[in-house]
Symmetry: D3
Subunit: 214 residues, 6 copies
């Protein structure tokens, strides 16, 4: 231990300024609170799924966006990074559902500037700026991933019996229209959205099942 | 809607095979269950923090690993992707803490092959293989990020009053040794680990506080 | 049952318009979601107390405000009603802690107008308007009750071991200053705040304890 | 701070006895535990809704009772106060569902006397006594609000997929009888109960929806 | 399947009456609700440990009582069975902490009669009757196990930072008296209680720890 | 207190070695963590029922196994003890659902040896060894109880609206085949399984209902 601490000391003299690492550590504590921030569609879906936090949501959005980027020939690195930070600002604004948006103004630019602007690297600030503009292929795909995660969640809630989720997915009529597909903007997004509707949340394990111990 | 559905149909004829999108959708449902898998150190830390799931953990590990890669001059894309998928296998094995490891063998190679091998792209399989070897700079840093997230969590639990977390962080003696630093293997890891010990989990908001409405 | 339904029919013909009762029912469903809205100081206090919702908070604030009104010679009815609805708007805006306030503008007047303006009675709209102005004795006391509930909660969290709550209550120094009292504005508020600091959260049951069955 | 503390000191000399404020503070800590007391119909409804505590329930009952009082020309202040305290006794008895009632005797008068009798004001004791008698208009309406909150909850649980809640609401037969209306005793109660059955828990937000940021 | 169903049919004709199995199934659904009944010391300990249900509590009490019976030379079968059912009645009465006991009468004999009296076997009724009398060695030990589980829980909560648990364990003075030992009545109970105080909740895994995968 | 402590001292001199009681206390702390271990079918059933822990599960399995032993003329003591400890090993291996089993080897014999081998009595080790062999009547019945508890849980989840639970119970086809009965191996198991399918989870309280206070 002693040896290590010396190593750190030495490193701090020759290497990066200590303040930078403290800045990063603080940022990491900040994004740690994203696992305590529940996504607010829970209010209107009347669900008690506490596992759907900004952190766990952003995790799957990042994974979805990677596939979208690969399929659409976009830069997967940039798309994933945008997905990872697309809701980081909610640590400072809280999440707002589609009722809240009606009555709330979030000063996103200030958040983006103050969260990312003082970090040792400028890349995250650049990523979030590009994402907010929704112009580049990557920005559009990261947003598409956000929408697709919503479909996955609604399907999971429908599977648990939630009637409101069913209405969001299929509407109130008997026609069973796949309403959520309307929000999708890309070819791959539509194909994935279709697949999410037609596959059941439990299909992935249906072929893996075993009752035998090894 | 109708128009969109036609668009999907046409796309499936000229573009990717439909099965691929179903395969991806199934994979996304599978990793969705990572938010239901609690990290098992909770058993030995006697904590009730249900927000510390494999999904929310992997999220912060990905963010940490990005900073490590930037500081250490590694490929940030590869490092982040490894971090994102480093625990995906636990969807098929469950998480195991340091007591469980003693009595459990996980057939990781089979999991890796069956989870990633049939996906339309081979990149994720390559990433996990490289991560498992722990040889490349990126693999070492993604693992380092995993360890650093543990320090952040322990500090957060210590802040909530958890005595076991304090013992893990500082040992039982009065010397307050920073025990967790022993596990770190890189220069930046050590500097960040030091910063996590010396910064408090609430420092990030101490300068942001306001009681005024806009 | 049949008889009752007829009674309702008849009543709807001679009595209030049916729409009014639907409006009230919708309002009651809306405020029902307040029990799903967690108070957001949990993000910065790192607490997992899911029982601290806008609904349960508003409940105790109403009770506190009743005592304040009695002690200060204010109108207890008005004070209690203001307390009951002081956070109803958060059903449409979500709750925001003292970090969020920095980056968020809530269009409260629009919320107040749209939530209360179309209800069959105008009293609630009047109460919330008076509360927002913070001029009347009753408005000041309802707000004071809000602050006092915060002290009670911090004391309860301190009792559970939360270090951040202790810092909020006493500051970081060793002087153990009762920091939260600074926010109080009325004589009774101060006296109650003092009492909340000096009484322990478990004192109320210390004289009630029995191990005997009746 | 110092100035404030002096102010308190001075006030305690000239004003109310300090013991009174301690008594009130203890009472407020006691009713704070109502948010930890789950309503026990959850046992028989097999629901995991931890947000339905005595505190959050009492909150909505108070709001319902206000509307009932206004519609029925009763004293809204008295009705609301009765609603607010109608379950405070459960801090000392725990909640009991309709199975428990069969096997339990609660010495309510002792609870009422010991909880409210030593408070600095006698009003709460008077309110609870009047409520327990169920004779006055206000007492009947506060109880009616209690029943109506049950209908709201059952409808919310039905919306989440709970089959038992559906049976409670409509019975087991195909006739879809509105069984819960049988428990209602007042004209407005019936009209509101009808409206709760015919309105869906999500109707309130259907016209508020927006996807645009401000 | 068809073959099995025939087998059941045949069995029901020659074997036990079908009603008995329905009676048992209903009893098993009833005791299933014990996992939804939180132990009520949580109200006064201000803990959010939802895992401490009547079911999980009874589980450990049964295990403790087995050791007590072995050490004290009592009948382990009878002792364990008493422990398993000692709180089954709470499915019909709810749990009551030491404040509740002051204001509540539970008609335990009626519960015991109605829960166990109509089961196909009379043994459980005999066990509960013997337990309620607290005369036999086994009854005394099953109760002792109940008390010892409380010590274990308090130690676990103390380990998580809970100050109230510390007061229950050691009192308010600085003398650190082991207060809970006063409640113990048997030699082995005292020895085990002592050991629970002197061993830490995490000692069991301290020698099992490994970071190596198999 | 002093007297008691002396008594303990004296006892430790003449009686059992102190280490034994520490060993037992450590074992009891270890099995206390079973209430923190969620059963992993929750991952594939997408349920949020945190009350279904290894501890609460083992509790009902013990009760079921008692009835099975009585009906089948087996030794109820042995059967109950096997049920109580049948999952104790999961404190050291974690729980694994039917997907996990495919990729995991649990070194159960080592766990059994290290958990039970050093306890002051050898009985528990003997019980677990007999259970693992699944040869004796008692071992078969304890396992049958494990399966029956799964049926009870699936029925409870079906009752809450869970579609996946319905598929597990009845299959995907419209034929409503009672699929879970296939897993049962004994006559009483089948009869009880049948009864669990035909009785509803709420039937037990349908005749107990009362709205009258005593």
């Amino acid at each position: 231990m002693k040896k290590q601490e010396k190593k750190v000391k030495k490193n701090t003299q020759t290497g990066k300024k200590h303040t930078d690492h403290t800045t990063i550590a603080n940022f990491l504590y900040e994004i740690g609170t994203l696992r305590k921030l529940m996504r607010m569609h829970r209010q209107v879906l009347l669900t008690d799924d506490m596992s759907d936090s900004i952190a766990s949501h952003s995790y799957r959005v990042a994974m979805i966006s990677w596939f979208l980027a690969k399929e659409e020939g976009a830069d997967p690195y940039k798309t994933v990074m945008m997905a990872l930070i697309h809701d980081v600002g909610e640590a400072r604004s809280n999440d707002h559902n589609w009722v809240h948006k009606r009555y709330i103004k979030v000063f996103e630019e200030e958040i983006d500037q103050e969260q990312f602007g003082s970090l040792p690297y400028h890349d995250l600030k650049d990523f979030i700026d590009e994402y907010q503009k929704r112009e580049s292929k990557e920005a559009i795909l990261a947003k598409e991933a956000d929408t697709l995660d919503q479909i996955l969640l609604l399907r999971e809630y429908e599977w648990g019996g939630n009637k409101e989720a069913s209405i969001w997915l299929y509407g109130n009529s008997k026609k069973n229209i796949k309403r959520q597909l309307d929000k999708l903007k890309t070819r791959t997004g539509l194909l994935l959205g279709e697949a999410m509707y037609s596959t059941n949340p439990s299909d992935w394990w249906s072929s893996l099942w075993t009752s035998k111990n090894r």
